[in-house]
Each structure stands twice: as structure tokens, then as C-alpha cells.
């Protein structure tokens, strides 16, 4: 079974986010980059599938040289080979076109993305990729069982879950539940050592165009100072929620 996990290189979840002074982009100063948390669930799921069905786990990302440590980390966690599509991602259309072209050249049975990246929160690439490859797609995927050609999936819906079936190949957009938090693999020393000798190949882009554009970024407005209320005066909280905030 050939498994591909699409990886995003994103600021660590604890990062304080700021933008450069003209607002044109993220201020990367002092920011630690990691594998997108949604993709981490996907990577571990990919390794589980390989252990059960045999095959290989490849990882791919669209990015410049600065994303290579993130790909090396994926190799250290257990991926067999890594692929960097050499360029800068601009939007979901361009990213999915580039990754789609890579997949068409290499053919995979299972393509696992994260539901969204925690930086731009687009959530466009997985579905766009499925449509470009004309493959079944399951978003917010929290369960994936493969038996021969047959696939059973569970996706999260608003307030519940839905089970569906289809056939390989498939594209899923995963999240926590695909594997559990405690199952997430982290690199061990042996993994880190072997990652150095695993293949990381660089591919030229096919030159696809972005259709949407980030014009600028700003910080959300600061909250007003908190009003502290005595636990002995809960009537005052109810009054404020009713009269001041008008939410009850």
C-alpha cells in the first residue's frame, strides 16, 4: 500500500502570532515551526496503515528550504521518504494543483491530509486535491479502516459522526480521532539518526497560479479589562450578562 501524508509547516501552537510592520506577512521572528497538528494525526495513521498492510509512507509539502527540518522530523517519526515541492504556497488552488501533479506522477492508494493548517486555516487543499484526482473524499475524518479495496470511513459532522464506505484510492482530511492523542508518534534517537540517511527529494513546481490572495494581516482588537465579580454576588453577573452584554 502506497501512503502519502501531506504536511504543512506551521508555527507551534503556543506561538504568539504577530505580523511584520506593513502587515504583509507573519513575523517569523522567534517562532518555532512544527508539523501541523492535524497532519501529525495523519502521519501516525499512515504508519499504522503501513504496519498493518505493508507498503510505504511518503510525506510531501510545498515550501522553500526552510521547511526541510519539518520534513526531516516526519522522517524521524517513521516516514520512508520525503518530497519538497520547491516554492512558496499562496492559496489552496495553487497548492492542490502542485501536490496533485506530484501525485499523478507517483500514484498513491491512500492520501492523508490534515483537515486544515493551523496557520492560514484554509481547509481548501484536501477537497481540491480529491477533485483534481477524481477520488473519493472524506473531510474531518476520524476513522479509516481498509480491507483490500474497501474502505470504511467515519467523519465528524456537527454534533455527531457519520460512517461511509468507498473504494481505494481515497483522499481524507484527518483530525484527532483518526488516531488518539496518546498514540501520536514522536521521534526517538534511532529515528532521528536514520532520518538523516532517508531520501528527501526536491521537485520543481509546474507553475500553477493562485486564485486567491492575502492582502494584509492584522491582530484582532484587544479585549477590554476583565470585570471581576465576587462569588457571593452572582446576581451581579446575571445583571451584567443581561443589561451590559445583552446575551441572556
Amino acid at each position: 500500500m502506497k501512503i502519502l501524508v501531506c504536511i504543512s509547516h506551521v508555527p507551534d501552537t503556543t506561538s504568539k502570532i504577530g505580523f511584520v510592520s506593513d502587515g504583509s506577512s507573519l513575523d517569523k521572528n522567534g517562532i518555532q515551526f512544527v508539523i501541523n497538528p492535524y497532519d501529525e494525526f495523519g502521519l501516525t495513521k499512515g504508519l499504522h496503515l503501513k504496519e498493518k498492510h505493508g507498503g510505504t509512507v511518503s510525506v510531501v509539502t510545498l515550501g522553500d528550504e526552510s521547511v526541510e527540518p519539518t520534513l526531516r522530523k516526519a522522517l524521524a517519526i517513521g516516514a520512508d521518504d520525503a518530497h519538497r515541492l520547491d516554492g512558496v504556497p499562496h492559496d489552496g488552488a495553487q497548492t492542490s494543483e502542485e501536490i496533485g501533479a506530484f501525485i499523478k506522477k507517483n500514484e498513491f492508494d491512500v492520501i492523508i491530509c490534515g483537515q486544515e493548517s493551523i496557520d492560514y486555516n484554509g481547509g481548501i487543499v484536501p477537497g481540491a486535491l480529491a477533485a483534481k484526482l477524481d477520488l473519493p473524499f472524506v473531510n474531518a475524518c476520524i476513522g479509516l479502516d481498509i480491507d483490500g479495496e474497501n474502505v470504511k470511513t467515519i467523519r465528524e459532522i456537527d454534533g455527531g459522526k457519520e460512517t461511509a464506505q468507498t473504494k481505494l484510492p481515497i483522499v481524507i482530511a484527518g483530525k484527532k480521532g483518526l488516531v488518539e492523542e496518546h498514540e501520536l508518534r514522536i521521534p526517538n534517537m534511532r529515528g532521528i539518526m536514520t532520518a538523516r540517511s532517508k531520501p528527501l527529494s526536491v521537485h520543481e513546481l509546474i507553475g500553477s497560479k493562485a486564485l486567491a490572495q492575502s492582502v494584509s494581516f492584522s491582530k484582532p482588537p484587544e479585549k477590554k479589562a476583565v470585570k471581576m465579580i465576587s462569588p457571593d454576588n452572582l446576581g451581579e453577573l446575571v445583571r451584567l450578562l443581561n443589561e451590559e452584554s445583552k446575551v441572556i
Binding site: 472524506v138 486567491a212 490572495q213 479585549k223 446576581g235 453577573l237
Partner: protein, 316 residues
């Protein structure tokens, strides 16, 4: 033409559907275009109801009744092409999120998700959207003559006028599925979190799942959804579908009450767009107080049941 996906659930419209219709109709007016809502579902759906949210015309597709993303996306994309659609509006519900990527490829349109404003410009179409897990606001614009916007649930309101109505057209489009749905099940409370106007949420401060009754009691009196922090869902006290935060569900209710949650930056990322935040915590140094509108330093086991009683007598 502006096309709006009018999502149904068990042949009924959701509140988020009316938000999308209100949004798309307003955009259409400002663009000088006609607005069309597209409904999938059987003849029991009261499609005419959508007219009061400002839409000009309703297309009802009865051959496609269940939500299979390809079927719906193919039908919407063929309508966009046939009707020369310039803008397609979705709501960012679980189903909307399943559709937007597929649609962006099928229509070859600019796709902008997580939209938190009406267009601030139409040439080119420009909107504000939430990015960096609510830690940033992005001005995003379309470089294409066809755009898909997916709006954040609960963020942009509903506008209705009982005197408006729309014409209804039945359209035959056959389903074209790539997956078959076996079963759907509801797991948490009656109110799906992304569209809940009020949410009561609790963390490890509650000490165990057996203590959740006081949370559901408070939620009930407020007609609120229930949520939890990441550690609580990770140790299995509550289902994953209740986990709000950076890697869980992002919500923006009118009122968010956080009980026994310290307020880690990852939790705030999922809830900071809430309009009013109340924090109840016995640790006066809990970082969540800095992000709150109202704070109470106290023991949840003492404060929460009394707050429920106070709200009950207020409601009377």
C-alpha cells in the same frame, strides 16, 4: 448570479442556512445580481421559507437527498456554470467545509474560507477572514472572476422580512456519489456546537466526568451547548466532538462560560471570538481571566450550582 448553498439536515433548514442566505442575498444586491438558493432534499422541505431571507429564486433538487460531498459539489458546480455564477456562498459547517475544496477545483474558483465580514470591496472581491486560529485577521481578495466564500457560523447574523418571497423552480440533477453513507449518529447535546449561541464549557478543574451534571444543568437553563477543554476529551471524560480549541472545534457564540479551564493559548485560539466570555476558576492567576469579560474566582462546585439557581430565578 450569486448562488447560495441552502444546507438541510433531515429535510429541515439550519440556522446557519439562513445566515448564508442573508449573506448571499446582500452580496447579490450590492453586486447588482440575482440571488439563487439551491436546496437538496425531498418534497417535505419547506423551501418557500427561504424567500423571507432575501433570496430572489430557489432551485429545489429533489433527486439528491443525502449529503454526499461529490454529489452536492457536482450539482452546485454545474449550476454555477449554467447560470454564469460569479459568487457561491456556503456556511462553514461540517458539510460546508467538506464542499469548499472540491468546489474550488470543479469550478476553478478562488475559494476563501472562515469569512468573518461582508465584502469590504467588490472589485476585486475582498473580505476579512479569521486566520492563525483567531490570532490574526486576514484581508483576502479574489483574483478570479468566480469566487466561493465560506462564512463562519454564528458571525454575520440573519436578516429577514416576512413580506419577501421567492419563486421556486424544481430541477432534475441525478446524484453522482463517490462514497455511500451507511449511518449518521448524534453524540452530544441537542445543539451542535458551531451554531450554539451560548456555550458552557468545563475543564480538568471538574475533577471527573461524574461531576458534569452541574455543567449540563447550567447549559440547560441557558439553552446552551456543552463543550470541554482538550485534556478532558483526551482522557475520555467527554467526547471529542465537545473539544473546543485550536485542534478541536472553533466557536464564536454570544456567550462562552469557561469553568475550571486555565486558558492555555491553544484553548483561547478556539474560543476567543466569543462575544462575551465568563471565566470561573479557583486560581486567581489563571491566564484565562486576561481574555475574559467577567471573572469569578471561586470553587466551581460552590459557584456553578448557585449560578444555575440564580439564572432560574432570573428567568422567572
Amino acid at each position: 448570479m450569486v448562488i447560495i448553498y441552502a444546507e438541510t439536515w433531515n429535510n429541515e433548514f439550519k440556522k446557519t442556512t439562513f445566515e448564508a442566505i442573508s449573506y448571499g442575498s446582500k452580496c447579490a444586491q450590492e453586486m447588482g445580481l440575482e440571488s439563487i438558493a439551491v436546496v437538496f432534499g425531498n418534497s417535505n422541505v419547506s423551501v418557500g421559507e427561504l424567500g423571507k431571507y432575501g433570496v430572489d429564486k430557489i432551485i429545489h433538487v429533489q433527486d439528491i437527498q443525502e449529503f454526499e460531498p461529490y454529489s452536492i459539489a457536482l450539482a452546485l458546480s454545474s449550476l454555477m456554470k449554467e447560470l454564469n455564477g460569479k459568487l457561491l456562498v456556503l456556511n462553514g459547517t461540517a458539510n460546508g467545509k467538506s464542499l469548499i475544496g472540491i468546489l474550488s477545483s470543479l469550478i476553478n474558483a478562488a475559494a476563501i474560507s472562515n469569512v468573518t465580514s461582508f465584502p469590504i470591496n467588490y472589485e476585486p472581491l475582498t473580505v476579512l477572514r479569521s486566520a492563525f486560529s483567531s490570532k490574526g485577521i486576514e484581508h483576502a481578495s479574489s483574483n478570479s472572476d468566480c469566487t466561493i466564500l465560506s462564512i463562519v457560523p454564528n458571525a454575520l447574523g440573519i436578516k429577514s422580512d416576512d413580506d419577501s418571497s421567492a419563486s421556486i423552480v424544481l430541477k432534475k440533477i441525478d446524484p453522482n456519489s463517490k462514497t455511500s453513507i451507511l449511518q449518521s449518529e448524534k453524540e452530544s447535546g441537542e445543539i451542535p456546537l458551531p451554531e450554539a449561541e451560548r456555550v458552557v464549557s468545563a475543564g480538568r478543574g471538574l475533577k471527573g466526568p461524574e461531576n458534569w451534571n452541574m455543567i449540563t444543568d447550567l447549559a440547560e437553563v441557558l439553552n446552551a451547548g456543552t463543550a470541554c477543554s482538550k485534556p478532558v476529551s483526551d482522557i475520555g471524560w467527554r467526547p471529542h466532538s465537545e473539544h473546543v480549541g485550536q485542534t478541536g472545534i472553533q466557536i464564536n457564540p454570544e456567550l462562552y462560560i469557561a469553568i475550571g479551564i486555565s486558558g492555555a493559548i491553544q484553548h483561547l485560539a478556539g474560543v476567543s471570538r466569543s462575544k462575551t466570555i465568563v471565566v470561573i476558576n479557583n486560581d486567581p492567576e489563571a491566564p484565562f481571566f486576561k481574555a475574559a469579560d467577567y471573572g469569578i474566582v471561586g470553587d466551581a462546585f460552590d459557584v456553578v450550582p448557585r449560578l444555575t439557581e440564580t439564572l432560574k430565578s432570573f428567568k422567572k
